[in-house]
């Protein structure tokens, strides 16, 4: 027979689960150029679901940036590693983790900030807006993981200042 305390513990645990709920979602693409917009829609829906289901507070800036990161990673698959790719998104409501696996073996290299350069601003933008950026070789292909903050914060050195 359960004790009162055990009940209270279970309730607290349940509450914590709701509060610290982690959501995950995955999508596979062949990554033709039309898929780039679909991938943005996918992360937009994911964040909207987090907002309605878990009451995540997500800044407008974060929603924009999440789509930008997905768009850049998807565009690069199109351009440099055409073929199947896997997009994973995960969040606890504070940080959004965006992972793109593709079949290409070569690791991408972000260009340093330089507004006078016409091209190669894709990963520069990603680096400028992210909290972390990770490249990982896999048995086949590679993974790029980008984390972004879902709430704006003036004391955390995100992006815009540091990019300049």
């Amino acid at each position: 027979m359960p004790l009162k305390n055990a009940h209270a513990g279970a309730d607290r645990r349940w509450l914590e689960e709701v509060i610290t709920a982690t959501m995950r979602s995955s999508a596979a693409y062949q990554m033709t150029s039309r898929d780039i917009g679909r991938a943005r829609g996918f992360v937009r829906e994911f964040l909207a679901t987090g907002q309605s289901l878990h009451a995540w507070t997500i800044s407008g800036r974060a929603t924009d940036i999440a789509q930008l990161v997905v768009s850049e990673l998807a565009t690069n698959v199109c351009k440099y590693a055409p073929g199947p790719c896997l997009l994973d998104v995960e969040s606890d409501g504070t940080m959004l983790s965006i992972t793109m696996w593709d079949s290409g073996a070569v690791l991408p290299s972000p260009s340093p900030a330089d507004p006078t350069r016409v091209g190669q601003h894709g990963l520069e933008l990603v680096l400028a807006v992210c909290q972390s950026f990770e490249l990982r070789r896999e048995a086949v292909g590679k993974r790029v993981t980008v984390q972004i903050a879902l709430q704006d914060s003036t004391d955390r050195p995100t992006s815009d200042q540091t990019a300049r």
Binding site: S25, A27, S33, R34, I36, G37, R38, A39, R40, G41, F42, R44, E45, F46, T49, G60, R61, D64, Q67, L68, S71, E72, T75, C78, K79, A113, P115, V118, G119, H121, G122, E124, L125, A128, V129, S159, D160, A163, R164
Partner: protein
């Protein structure tokens, strides 16, 4: 929970192309007003539109108020267009302003709050 890709917000490119009346402005600039999201996929029509506009205008005003999303491929088009002609960007949303600011392109691109101000400068 599998989330269906959201196709709805991807809009076609609706544009108005017009030669603004010359008031204070001395050069006739084309105005284009693309709408929707701009990436690798949606750039060729925008590029074509700019090319057409520049065939008989000395520059182009990009009314950016209807652009809901843009990435580095769009930025690239802005930068190449800026290099070849008088490009004026009018009424950018916060999203577009951020895109330009993050890479520092807002320091030299011509950006105006409204199409009117872009015309009359």
């Amino acid at each position: 929970m599998p989330l269906a890709p959201d196709e709805i917000s991807r809009q076609g490119i609706l544009t108005t192309m017009s030669t603004p009346e010359r008031r204070h402005s001395s050069v006739p600039l084309a105005v284009i007003a693309p709408r929707g999201e701009f990436d690798l996929d949606s750039l060729p029509p925008l590029q074509a539109q700019i090319d057409t506009a520049l065939a008989d205008h000395t520059g182009v005003i990009l009314d950016a108020s209807g652009i809901t999303f843009a990435d580095s491929m769009f930025l690239r088009l802005l930068l190449t267009t800026h290099q070849r002609t008088d490009l004026r960007i009018a009424a950018p949303s916060e999203t577009i302003e951020r895109l330009l600011a993050v890479v520092g392109a807002d320091a030299f691109l011509r950006i105006y709050p409204t199409v009117d101000q872009a015309q009359n400068t």
